[in-house]
């Protein structure tokens, strides 16, 4: 039975116990989240990680990041030495200072999502060279919230995110306006996740 290290032991927290199978299952959840934007789904391969990284965001990290990727952490995350050690040990990713150089960016709380313009947007020729944001949040719901439309959504879907920075939906609007350039966002609670790719637009008219 695996045990998480006590906070002050200095030991590195474990990652997946069966990497090939767990990362496959985790990836399918992430892939579905981005191919059916807005839909809140449970993440089954959660990984306990050092604060403030939540178990679903840790799952995404271990599934997608490795020695070939660059990772940006917000100030709250960067303040935790244990977390950077965890990321370096398990993924070998370079932790970068500038968000515009990051392939993956981890944001500790949806209350403080930076302006999406700060991240790599890709170019018209290579729109894929952009940042994917993993934003931690407390609650996700499809019962209320902002009405979304776009590829992957049959008619429209509501996505409620709490808490949420005031300017976020404005950022999403301008992010979509520059399609195919732009960033993709994955929201993670402690148990669930939802995707918001750049192709998704606000139904209220972008």
């Amino acid at each position: 039975m695996r045990q998480d290290p006590s906070p002050d032991s200095g030991a590195i927290w474990p990652g997946f116990s069966a990497p090939a199978l767990q990362s496959q299952s985790a990836f399918r959840t992430v892939m579905l989240a981005l191919s059916e934007p807005g839909k809140v789904r449970e993440a089954t391969e959660r990984v306990n990680a050092p604060d403030p990284l939540n178990p679903v965001a840790a799952m995404v990290l271990l599934t997608l990041c490795d020695v070939d990727t660059s990772v940006w952490l917000d100030a709250e995350m960067r303040a935790h030495r244990e977390l950077s050690d965890f990321i370096r040990f398990h993924t070998g990713s370079t932790i970068v200072e500038s968000p515009s150089r990051a392939q993956f960016a981890f944001v500790s709380s949806s209350r403080r999502v930076p302006d999406l313009k700060n991240f790599a947007q890709g170019s018209d020729s290579y729109p894929d060279r952009s940042t994917t944001l993993i934003v931690q949040t407390e609650a996700l719901t499809n019962d209320a919230g902002t009405l979304l439309q776009g590829p992957g959504i049959e008619t429209s879907i509501r996505l409620g995110i709490a808490p949420l920075s005031d300017t976020f939906w404005d950022c999403v609007r301008s992010n979509h306006r520059q399609f195919p350039r732009g960033v993709d966002v994955i929201f993670c609670t402690n148990t669930h996740l939802a995707g918001l790719p750049r192709s998704t637009r606000l139904a209220s008219g972008a």
Binding site: Q24, L34, E36, P127, P151, G152
Partner: protein
Amino acid sequence: MSLSEISEQPAGYNFAYLDEQTKRMIRRAILKAIAIPGYQVPFASREMPMPYGWGTGGIQVTASIIGPDDVLKVIDQGADDTTNAVSIRNFFARTAGVAMTSRAEEATIIQTRHRIPETPLHTGQILVYQVPIPEPLRFLEPRETETRKMHALSEYGLMHVKLYEDIARHGHIATTYAYPVMVEDRYVMDPSPTPKFDNPKMHMSPALQLFGAGREKRIYAVPPHTKVVSLDFEDHPFSVQEWPDTQCAMCGAEGVYFDEVLLDDRGGRMFVCSDTDYCERRQAEGHFGHLHASGGAGAAAPENR
């Protein structure tokens, strides 16, 4: 499938053959492809234990998404029993040990070479296409630098000129397969060499469609419920192939995509469903065509079907 069963697979291979770092690289490309429908994402395609042209792109995509609980169907030109389909099925049976099926609605992942099943797909299914040339503009403009610029600017005049030249020469748009489509009003995309008969099935499909080109090192995608419109002109609207007064010789189906099979050297021929799963299911339900053994026509069943 349990962990102990997986460890019984050939020694030296990871689950589904590819190493984890390769899978992560492909998975990242798939996510970008889904976020930008129709855009071809470059990826570091690997050498596979089979030659280019045998579906190495589709296999790499399938290997990166497949899990022990998946049910895989592989088709080649609609058939489950042709060489390419059989060899790919064997590959995944050995390296991933997943369940196989020929039934379209039972499969969670369908890897296909050049057909979309006649049976309508449903939500949660993933269709993986094997793509030889992912760039729809390649035969019009050989330079990658130029075609990339055209996609960046959404400048597709050249493609319309090509379709127009078809009309000028033949009186109609003579492109019958790999018929270019516009995805979400932004990117012109090659649907892989599927017959244009299948193009309407891509539009607003409930299934996720992933495209892998191994030799050309590109992955692209069409998420579920996404607009996929075949290019055409107002006075020459897109239409699919039709075979009036033709029925499948084995199951009697109409309005499906047919293979033409020559029966002798005196011009004898018959038409059968290209989708073997669909055809066999209809026969099992008691639908018979005029050349079926129980159909009373007395003709021998043709070979290889």
